[in-house]
Amino acid sequence: MTLSLSERDTERLLGNEGPALALAMRVVTRVAEAMEADRLLDIVGAHIDSCLFTGMAALDFANRLADGGARVSVPTTLNVSSLDLLHPELSLGDPEERRLALRLMERFEEMGCRPTWTCAPYQLEERPAFGEHVAWAESNAIVFANSVLGARTHRYGDFIDLCCAVTGRAPAAGLHLDANRLATVVVRIEGVSEDLLDRDVLYPVVGGLLGPLAGKAVPVLVGLPVGVSEDRLKALGAAAAATGSVGMFHVVGSTPEAPTLEAALGGRPAGTEIRVGSDEIRAARDRLSTTADVGLRTVSLGTPHYSVAQLGRLVELLGDRRVHEQVAVYASTGRDVLHEVELRGWADRLTAAGVQLVADTCTYFTSIIEDTSRTTMTDSAKWAYYAPGNLGVEVVFGSVEDCVESAIAGRVVRDEGVWANA
């Protein structure tokens, strides 16, 4: 398939708008060819993941574009970085790496990106509307944009996110196109108790199960309650994207392109149909833990970044209790959400209870956690999946209620009742 370009695309490719735009255009067109796209399309916004320092290559690329005078041409938000600019004292990392990470962040601001520093741009006030084309990177944001907002983005990775933002163009391929948004895999959830269906903890577990089952396919889930909340869909999507390569999912009765199973399938028969019962769900939950050690040292919440509602739930669960002196509790969120919870007086209450709020970054790849010796507990399947490899920690997955009770008790305690009767 040949990629046809607009006159302006070609001008830019030829370098007539400078070397930075030529580089950005070359990356977009080379990837478009790899995706077998026949044209490019206009985007209305971008969310950039390249601002996270992953090594010199990330900075080399940003420098090439920024030095060449590149600026973003559409409203562009920034993902987490490797630093918490609001709480710099939390960083235990190498000073030289911190300097490079900060330099990288500055370069993106110079190019006109909004310093939002959050992996949950869908929690910002302005978010893409149904049907709008955007170029988002960050796997949990991508899956949320497509599945929950009904906006259209392919699974973009570092570098092309910036190139799309600078050129305002993206390959007309993948999840931008109607046909590729239809489900091909049906996952039926059966025999799960009403009690468990109504618990937050079920949703990241279902996501962790969905990732390996779906791979890169678009799955549709049947059997979950109607009107699943955004926070639950967020946890489900983040887990499915981390453990598989899911860029979009449907939940019948909850996500905008799945009013019915038939609509999600586009009237076609399902390619694959998988039944998932409570045994599989319990096994999926167990796979998220790497240890039986109840010696709790750390609790990590907020992956993806907690919403206002989730921080409110944390305040409610803690009440007037304080976490155990041997346990460090971190809750990560975006600076916009943090500002909101400060206004509500919740930030002070959380701090008084012994919760360390983390902004701009996340605890599963940044050197923030002080004691990685015993067990870390999390309510995030994504955190549970990545942190053992990134940080060398042992992890126990539990509900946010389990995490709070454990943090107060100073040892791992989990409510097994909801699982035993699942």
């Binding site: 995706m35 992953t54 490899g389």
Partner: protein
């Protein structure tokens, strides 16, 4: 089974990132996310859930079912190529644009081209240790040098 790898086995696929490379095959039983799954300083697999944990990808023709997970996989791959710890080529059963992207940017920034090829069929005939050449859409394996 070594007898499955005959000398000069030629497989034709689709080049996501066309180019020439050679190396010994490292076959992965499961998809790998380069970010969070590979240490770019050593080129070793660090994903604790991965069956090929601790294997080195340096200079290998990396054969795997597909990519996985994070959108930082492109910069992690690019960083490994910059640092000289990347694979020589990547061969997958399914296309993965994030991996292709990492290879494209490493070529643009450092002039180091790691070809990326999609083989819809025949991936299972490429066994770890076999010498292999990648040339655009062609993947050519030689006799099993362990036997």
């Amino acid at each position: 089974m070594p007898d499955e790898v005959s000398p000069g086995l030629a497989l034709e696929g689709r080049a996501m990132v066309p180019g020439e490379a050679q190396g010994d095959v490292l076959c992965l039983d499961e998809p790998l996310s380069f970010w969070g799954g590979l240490d770019p300083e050593t080129g070793r697999i660090t994903d604790r859930h991965h069956p090929q944990l601790d294997e080195s990808v340096v200079g290998r023709v990396l054969v795997m079912p597909s990519g996985r997970g994070s959108s930082s996989a492109s910069s992690a791959l690019c960083e490994a190529i910059r640092a000289g710890t990347g694979p020589a080529a990547i061969v997958m059963a399914e296309p993965d644009e994030i991996i292709a992207l990492g290879a494209v940017v490493a070529d643009e920034l450092y002039g180091r081209l790691v070809p990326v090829v999609v083989l819809a069929e025949g991936l299972d005939r490429l066994c770890t240790g076999v010498r292999c050449t990648v040339s655009d859409q062609m993947v050519i394996a030689y006799s099993d040098n362990r036997s």
